[in-house]
Every structure is written in C-alpha cells, then in structure tokens.
Symmetry: C2
Subunit: 189 residues, 2 copies
C-alpha cells in the first residue's frame, strides 16, 4: 500500500492526485451520510471507507462542516426527465424521479443534513444553490401556466408530495398519490 502510493506519486501529476483524493473522499463522505446518517459522518469513518489516512482527511477537511461540504460535492446533478411538453406527463415524471432519488440515493437524508448544518453560512449557501437547482425543471414547466404566489405555491406543493411523507413518516407516495397531486395542480391552471 505504502509502496503503491509512492509509485503513484512518481507517475501521476500532483493536481490530478489532489483531484482524485477529493473525488474519493467526497464519494465516501456522501455514502456515509446517506447510508449511515449524519451522526456517523466522522473523519475516522470517512477515512476508513475512502481508504485514506485520518491525517490526510484532517489536513484537507479539518472540521465536520468540511466533511459535509465535500459530501455535497459528490451529489452531482440530479437526474431529470426529458420534457415532452405535456405538463401533466412531465410533472408526474419529475415527481417519480424525485421519489426514486429518495429511495435509491436517500436524498431525504441529504436534505436533513443540509438543514441541520444550515446555521453555517457556507452550508446554507450551498444548500440554497442545490435546492434551487433541484427545483429548476419543475419551476420552468410551471412558469408557462402559473405566476406569482400561485407559482410559488405549486412548486412547494409538488415538492411536498414527495418530501413530506419521506421526512415526516419515512414513506414515499404511491403512483396514485403523485398523479392525484399533479391533477390538482394542472386542473387549477
């Protein structure tokens, strides 16, 4: 292992090594956060999963907040559905993708972790950017039919159909419930 690392230092430029370490740690930190919860997100645990020393971790990401921030790095772009132009079909598809992300990626735990540390300015700014980005496709779809308070209400309501059951009861809505929600919004257009 030590030999492998030395050999690598001779052949890989420093910049790519740093970038790769960062990507490895980000992926591992996100995995700990979503699979084991925010209390498990410690330097020791991330070091273990990522296969780096605790010293390496502490030198690049000294605080717990740094681990949270680097984990969010690994989130990447949320998958989105290619819009068909039919508002009902497109909204249902987006909500099913959101539900999928809660089940598969435990996006609900990411939301919780971001809220939990939002008193830290850097986390709160990153959280706002991530959530704005996540809502963009639905906002763009709804903007054609709604504006002002109605637009803001519709966006929160559709987010709530998936977010509320998962955050409040650890369940996700069935297809029927997603479709009923979209119908209530689309019909009020």
């Amino acid at each position: 292992m030590a030999f492998g690392q030395k050999l690598e230092q001779l052949t890989v430029p420093a910049d790519s090594r740093v970038a790769r370490t960062r990507a490895d740690v980000a992926r591992s930190a996100l995995a700990v956060l979503t699979q084991e919860g925010s209390d498990a997100l410690t330097h020791a645990r991330v070091a273990e999963i990522a296969g780096y020393s605790k010293t390496t971790l502490y030198s690049h990401w000294p605080s717990k907040i740094d681990l949270v921030l680097v984990a969010l790095d690994a989130l990447g772009d949320m998958p989105h559905h290619e819009a068909t132009g039919d508002l009902r079909i497109d909204l249902i598809a987006e909500l099913k993708l959101f539900r999928h992300a809660v089940i598969e990626l435990r996006l609900d735990r990411v939301l919780i972790a971001m809220s939990q540390w939002a008193s830290v300015e850097t986390v709160s700014r990153l959280r706002d950017a991530i959530n704005t980005n996540a809502q963009r496709p639905v906002r763009q779809m709804l903007e054609k039919s709604f504006q002002g308070p109605q637009l803001e209400a519709a966006i929160s309501m559709l987010a709530g159909v998936v977010a509320c059951p998962s955050l409040m009861f650890d369940t996700v809505p069935s297809d029927d419930v997603i479709e009923a929600a979209v119908d209530m919004i689309v019909r009020s257009d």
Copy 2:
C-alpha cells in the same frame, strides 16, 4: 442552593420531584434543540440550562437518544385553530398556525431532529405519532371533500407549502402563497 434543595426534599413528595425534574429537563432539552440545533444537544449543555448536575442527567437519560426523546416530551399539543366549517378559511388558519410554529417554536428543527434519529425505533415511533397528531385537524377538514389518493396528496401538498420552504430554503411562505395553495386544493374539490 444546596440548602434550598434539602429543604425541598423534606417538603415535596418524591414523585412530584421526579416529575418536576423531568419537566424541567424536557423543557431545557427542547430549548437547546430548537434554539441551538441538534449538535448542541449534549448532557453538559442541557444540565447547564436546566440547572441540574450532569450526574442527574446521565442517571435518568443515559444516551443522546434519551435527550431527544425527553425533548419531544416538552412539545405538548400544537396550537390549533377552532374550525368555522368553511374549508378555505379553516385551512388557511391551520397553515398560518403551522408557519407561526416554524417561526416561533422552530418546529422545522424539531422535524429535522426527529428525522435525523429516526433509525432508532423509539424515535421513529414517537415521530410518527407526533406527525400524525399534527396533521389530524387538516386531515379531518379535508376528509369531508376528498378521499383516497386525492386526500393523501392534498394533505402532503398543504404540509409542503410551509415545510418545504422552511426545510429547503429557511424561509416561510407569505399570506398570498398560503392562500393560493389553499385555493388550488379547494377549487379542485
């Protein structure tokens, strides 16, 4: 202080002393959770705020989870609005009370803390009970006009109007947005 405590032990029955200690600690733990966040919820901090020794705290509430559970004890019943029978007026009043509880009691932080520790069975059961209870008035109002998937969708959507902006962006909806949301639901009746 020590003298006061001894005197009190002679005059107050043991049961009421235990109940009072529990109530003091519950109130203090909830205050730390909502005002300082879940990371601040430690035995040392709650002991300081409640005015008891750390030893007393550890002996009754040995783990961090016990502190979470006792904090939830102090939540009490959420304030609810006296129903007028007009669905639109009653739903708007309930959502404004929910918004008030987010602003004044930081109910969003309680929601986050309950989700954060929901992998612990006792927390998850208590969370389900608290959230079911919190949603009951809105559910009872909507049950007269909606059922099945539409009822479930409407409940999550109305919760989402307040919960999503607070959890995702640390903001609350304006009166206009709350009214627009209720109108979209009531109109689809």
